[in-house]
């Protein structure tokens, strides 16, 4: 008896698309392509426009402090420094507040209040930056300059807290303490705190109830649960949320324009008047820029964009890799 011959070739499945589907796919692909063209076009256009500046100035573009196109001196050293300083201050202030508030909402807030607190944080994300700017300029600044003086008074021996003025002068010299990177940092902190807090809160909320209960059953206090279960579980969310806030802090424009007085040199004294960030520099200088000066602005914009892009990519990567982040969208 011979083996029955078996045809091992799989059956071919063929489906033909209906005409309406063909059109649908075509239109959808077209839409996707158009969005790719617009969004990708910005990046390519920025790079293309920035090229002449980067070619002309080379590395000097990153080491030169002054921004004087008319004197042919263009560099982002001071501007980049100011951007990083303002963002660092903002994150230093907003990070503990965001973590503590997110923990409060998930762990300790009264149950009836929790939903409205979540809504309040989400609302804070939506408050326009100009409103924070007004608040910072008119309400916060006149009060914070006294805090600045106090810090200088007691911690002035630390170089970054020094201010080049006599803190014990007979007449309080408020203008020296106003318009500083410190005050801009506080305002930006207020702006990025809700973003970071919202991400962290969402991650903390996903902590498995079983692990929480296990910790409680072993006799831990509510802080013990947070330390042993919630924080390790939400580490990805904490890092990701902070990075997301950092990305926003680096790109913030209008609140910084309202607060700082532009100063194109590296100013280590964060409490002292004068600083500049990339975005506020663009907002201040676009009007008088033409030709190659616009290219220089585009180059600065490209530097800012690349930095925020890297920060956001890291944020997305960290959140997606973490245990908690699989289902989270930031």
């Amino acid at each position: 008896m011979s083996e029955p011959t078996v045809d091992l070739e799989p059956r071919k499945l063929r489906s033909s698309l209906a005409p309406s589907d063909l059109i649908f796919r075509l239109v959808a692909r077209g839409g996707g392509g158009l969005v790719l063209l617009i969004t990708g076009g910005i990046g390519i256009f920025l790079a293309y426009q920035a090229k002449p500046t980067l070619q002309t100035y080379g590395w000097k573009f990153f080491t030169e402090q002054s921004w004087q196109p008319e004197a042919n001196q263009i560099g982002v050293a001071a501007i980049l420094f100011g951007t990083v300083v303002v963002a660092t201050i903002a994150i230093a202030i907003s990070f503990p507040l965001a973590v503590a508030t997110a923990l409060y909402i998930t762990e300790w807030a009264p149950r009836g209040l929790k939903k409205s607190l979540v809504a309040v944080v989400d609302l804070m994300v939506a408050v326009p930056s100009i409103v924070y700017g007004l608040w910072g300029f008119f309400l916060l600044q006149p009060r914070v300059i006294h805090l600045s003086r106090w810090i200088t008074d007691f911690f002035g021996w630390i170089p970054i807290f020094r201010v080049d003025t006599d803190p014990d002068a007979a007449v309080f010299d408020g203008a020296t303490y106003a318009s500083s990177a410190f005050i801009a940092g506080i305002v930006v902190a207020m702006m990025v705190m809700p973003i970071a807090c919202a991400v962290m809160r969402e991650v903390f909320d996903q902590t498995p109830a079983g692990e929480r209960e296990a910790a409680l059953a072993l006799g831990s206090t509510s802080w013990g649960v947070v330390r042993a279960v919630v924080l390790p579980f939400g580490r990805g969310g904490i890092i990701g949320g902070t990075m997301l806030g950092l990305g926003r802090a680096l790109g913030e424009t209008i609140a910084v324009v309202m607060i700082v007085s532009p100063l194109f040199e590296i100013n280590w004294h964060v409490l002292q008047s004068g600083s500049i960030t990339i975005s506020s520099m663009i907002a201040l200088r676009y009007g008088e820029a033409q030709g190659s000066q616009l290219n220089a602005l585009m180059a600065a914009g490209l530097v800012l964009f690349v930095i925020t892009l890297i920060v956001n990519l890291i944020a997305g990567f960290v959140v997606a890799r973490s245990r908690s982040g699989a289902g989270t969208e930031i």
């Binding site: 309406s20 790719l36 508030t101 923990l103 907002a283 964009f305």
Partner: protein, 354 residues
Amino acid sequence: MTTLLDEPVRRQLRIVDVEDRAGLVGSAVAGLSLTWVFYNRILPTEGTLGFIVCWWLSFTALYLLYTGLRRGRVVLTDRFAVLLAHSAAALVGIALTTVIGYTLIRGARALIHTNFFTQDLRTAGPLEPLSSGGALHALVGTLIQISIAIAITLPLGILCAVYLTEVGGRASRLVRSVVEAMTALPSIVAGLFAYVVLLIGFGMRLSGFVAAMAISVMMLPIIARSSEVVLRLVPSGLREASLALGATQWRTVWSVVLPTARPGLATALVLGTARGIGETSPVLLTAGFTTYLNLNPFSGPMVSLPLFTFKMSQSPEPNYISRAFGAAALLLVVVLLLFAFSRWMAGRGRSGSR
């Protein structure tokens, strides 16, 4: 037998008794008195902020001392963490209240005059009282610009999201990554892009349309990305059921996927709009400034609420600053309404409440 019928008693997880509460109140009062004596009477210190900080510090120290003596180290750490979390939340709450309250209160001076909503600023100079002139042109400009931006970004964004979730293919990964990357685009760079391309490249003039384009560039990735998230949440069982009934893919998307995701899409749109409506920096570069009511987005500068606020706040005149706060309060109210609307939409549909 009776034990079986009894309701199970919930275990008390938090051990906070009357004495603890009394200790809390007592520490607060003791801290207040201590601070008052030292801060106001003995030490050469003054100022409200310093007083509150010192009060908080002495209150915390006393409370921790009390808890530590009574309960021991483990509970002490717990209470300290709880106290810090409560304090941080309170600080954030106070900050938000002052941000919104201060804007509304200072804005009220301008907002109580009806002419703020019915007139533009053509006749009102910096010294003109608040009873003449208003921000009608800025309000109208905001509405026109955001309408154009929505008309551009909504179809494109949803189409892109449909492409990413329903059609897919090899290129979709690239599109997704680029869209995701572009959500990081700083708004000022979006404005600079529109400024260089449309105003300098194509020789357009400062106008509402160019400003709307700048806002669109900023909003498009945001809306495309959040719509994609919403569409991905539509259960694939619904899609498969529709396809199994013989519907074409186009029918499935149009009659099943999109209606299911509608509340979520509305939320995505509203939040994107709230973001776009409040952005000053792209508009600053592209819209120009005017004191006249301009209904034509294609010719002449057209001011919007955030830009109006910014320009007015740069003036030293108190009346202009009041107008700035009025416009900011108006903007805030618009954003609040949008936000409340999005909450309401999200609460109605399943896919919206993620």
